[in-house]
Subunit: 135 residues, 2 copies
Amino acid sequence: MSEKSGLSIGALGKATGTGVETIRYYERIGILPAPARTAGNYRSYDMGHVRRLGFVRKARDLGFPLETVRALLDLTDQPDMQCEKVDGLVLEQLHAVERKLADLERLRTELERLANCCRGGHQVSDCRIIEALFP
Amino acid sequence: MSEKSGLSIGALGKATGTGVETIRYYERIGILPAPARTAGNYRSYDMGHVRRLGFVRKARDLGFPLETVRALLDLTDQPDMQCEKVDGLVLEQLHAVERKLADLERLRTELERLANCCRGGHQVSDCRIIEALFP
DNA sequence: GATGGACCCTGTAGCCGCTACAGGGTCAAC
DNA sequence: GTTGACCCTGTAGCGGCTACAGGGTCCATC
């Protein structure tokens, strides 16, 4: 992989903390453009790919679904657009996270109650957790 | 569906708030035992099924993975066992929920920061959100 | 007894975002 | 020339459903 300083898929993976299979997957679904190939048919990535994949990783780490990542990438490809849409996508994701947080907090409360209603030492036939789970 | 007062799959679904396809799926993977059949090959459920599926629904609503639900069901089928295992499974799920909560809270903080660093009115080429997402 | 519509049956494929093979090819070092 | 690390394509699997397609059954109404 030394033709004109391109990165191999493994090197790109290391540079961005992404698995090789994931990179190929991103290419297949059009998140990452297909790179040039070497004579031996190896993928050869440039710095644009590193940057783009880094963007994808960060957005994914923030929980953005791939479709939203795709939309964000489309926006970065149109630098003259107004950026309200970017803002909207981020707020939408923030609200999604807040909804999930609220759901999980309810869940935690329920599970704490459940855990406290029986602390072992019984037979299953007598266990209040099991009782509580039956409707 | 009036042979000996059995419930049809649709009736069981309504009684437990479960989709018909989901019930068939639970049967396929062995979460719900296969019921009797009518002369016309319709599934015919009894009160044991209603109770068991209700249990599954409640556990699923609490976020228990199906494999854990299966383990809980196995325990209810052995009423003479000590119930420490039940307690353990609940605590494990509680901890899983707490881990997810911590992750999501970090995410929310990040997203709030991101949302506040640009409030529209720019061009995408100038947008600090996009900037912040590039590594 | 014919018809219509609501329900049911099986089997298979799709969703998301990867991940893990199988069965091969390529490349650099020794 | 042989090892061993990497790469290639293609396909299948994960969890937990959900959505068909292409049929069969049941019951009420005419």
